[in-house]
């Protein structure tokens, strides 16, 4: 398996074996991610973070990961402070970042931006979100979280809840979970259902997913409940939005139906999908999930850039 200098644009850039390899390697990174142990395998390497769109978790965890590996970080989180503002092309910005660093992490509002960046960089490019496109490291950290909590993914009953139509990240996640043998069930309002192509793609990889609009029923025997945000913009009026959000809200009441060891995940930021009451229950895993971005990104950076490994 060779990760050296590879671009990471979509989760589909990885085979099943490679995904498992990264997850296992991320486990080894855990004590280093927490700062309990120290390493400097990326000493002398520089990461640039080009964030053309706001992000908290992704950027901070990439920066933390690079620092924990002994590397350094340059970059921007506000494109208004760059020449982009003067009309500089993305291609030129990438050429510059490429000459200043050894690896590029990019988040951009336009789909395909990361793919395009690979054409102008010698260094590897990692996609940290391209508009409605891909976000492969989020997908990897989601998989990592499930594996760490449940010891495996194969045969797990996983419910994906919320906006399953527009969220591309949830499409990649569904694909990857199927590839790893999870039994998926999709729960969403009628107007935000998982697209047929994605369901077919899941079927080709693994067990056939089921779809329902009944959350209580789906939660009953679930091992994992993955919640996504339902955006206000998707609805014609406030009334319809409030009705839908109310129907699919995850609260203490819903958890009465759940298995004791059900884990609840969310890519964050969450708005109203999960009641804050749930935070105190042992089901709530979303904060730990967000932390897992560090060991996973450490594993990737190390595999892609490192001259030696752990």
């Amino acid at each position: 398996m060779d990760f050296k200098n590879r671009d990471v644009i979509s989760i589909k850039d990885f085979s099943k074996e490679e995904i498992i390899y990264v997850i296992n390697y991320a486990k080894k990174m855990m004590p280093y991610a927490k700062g309990e142990k120290h390493i400097d395998i990326l000493k002398g390497k520089i990461l640039s973070t080009l964030f053309f769109e706001p992000s908290t978790r992704t950027r901070l965890s990439f920066e933390s990961a690079m620092n924990r590996l002994g590397g350094r970080v340059i970059g921007f989180a506000d494109p208004n402070a760059t020449s982009q503002k003067k009309g500089e092309s993305l291609a030129d910005t990438i050429r510059m970042a490429d000459s200043y660093s050894d690896v590029i992490v990019i988040r951009h509002p336009q789909e395909g931006a990361a793919r395009l960046s690979t054409e102008f960089a010698e260094s590897p490019v990692l996609n940290a979100g391209d508009g409605a496109g891909h976000h492969p490291t989020q997908c990897l950290l989601d998989l990592f979280t499930i594996v760490t909590e449940k010891k495996k993914i194969k045969g797990d009953k996983i419910v994906l809840l919320g906006d399953l139509k527009y969220g591309r990240t949830v499409h990649s996640l569904a694909y990857a979970l199927s590839l790893l043998g999870a039994e998926l069930s999709f729960v969403s309002p009628e107007s935000l259902k998982m697209p047929k192509e994605i369901i077919n793609e899941c079927k080709e990889q693994g067990p056939e997913p089921s779809s329902t609009s009944n959350l209580e029923k789906a939660v009953k025997d679930a091992d994992v409940l993955y919640v996504t945000r339902i955006q206000r913009e998707r609805f014609p009026d406030a009334e319809e939005y409030n009705r839908v959000v109310g129907t699919y809200k995850v609260d203490i009441n819903l958890l009465k139906y759940a298995k004791e060891d059900l884990i609840i995940m969310h890519p964050l930021p969450r708005v109203v999908e999960i009641d804050p009451e749930v935070d105190k229950t042992p089901h709530a895993l979303y904060f730990k999930q967000a932390f897992n971005g560090v060991p996973v990104r450490m594993a990737l950076l190390s595999l892609i850039l490192g001259d030696r490994q752990l």
């Binding site: 979509s10 009309g87 092309s89 993305l90 291609a91 951009h108 509002p109 336009q110 789909e111 395909g112 931006a113 793919r115 395009l116 054409e119 391209d130 508009g131 409605a132 496109g133």
Partner: protein
């Protein structure tokens, strides 16, 4: 005996089996009338074995690959007949290459290929007939291909 409703051409190209209704689009692709002063004849809604079709005949002109690819995108069943000395000298069915570069604009307004970047548009072929292509950058299938040809 060949029965031709229009005057035969000595040298040129006959684009036959064009999806009916698309002859004008084909003329557009060939930049007719701007690109030629020779005779061009167009037949629309001609009865044929596979239903109605359009035909475009252009004198003193052979098509380049780009033009043929563009035609394949709107009329997947078209045949290109090269006429030399009144006879069909060559006959090719159009077919799309696996990768289509620089001849279509992505239909996704927020695709990076539609921004001012120094790259050509690039698509991967999903199916020939009906023509279906997927943007290499944003990975979306392009809607209304006929309207997106550059």
């Amino acid at each position: 005996m060949k029965k031709l409703k229009i005057t035969p051409i000595k040298d040129g190209t006959v684009i036959d089996h064009i999806t009916s209704g698309f002859a004008v689009k084909v003329l557009h692709i060939l930049r007719i009338p701007e690109s030629t002063s020779s005779v061009v004849s167009v037949a629309m809604n001609v009865k044929s074995k596979i239903g109605k079709k359009d035909i475009v005949k252009v004198e003193n002109r052979e098509l380049d690959t780009k033009e043929v690819d563009k035609i394949a995108l709107i009329a997947p069943k078209a045949t290109i007949n090269i006429i030399r000395d009144y006879e069909v000298a060559e006959k090719h069915k159009v077919h799309l290459p696996a990768e289509i570069v620089g001849i279509v604009k992505c239909s996704n307004p927020t695709c990076i290929s539609n921004a001012k970047e120094p790259v050509k548009s690039r698509f991967l072929l999903v199916s020939d007939d009906p023509p279906c292509i997927k943007c290499y950058y944003c990975e979306r299938e392009t809607e209304d291909i006929a309207e997106r040809i550059i």
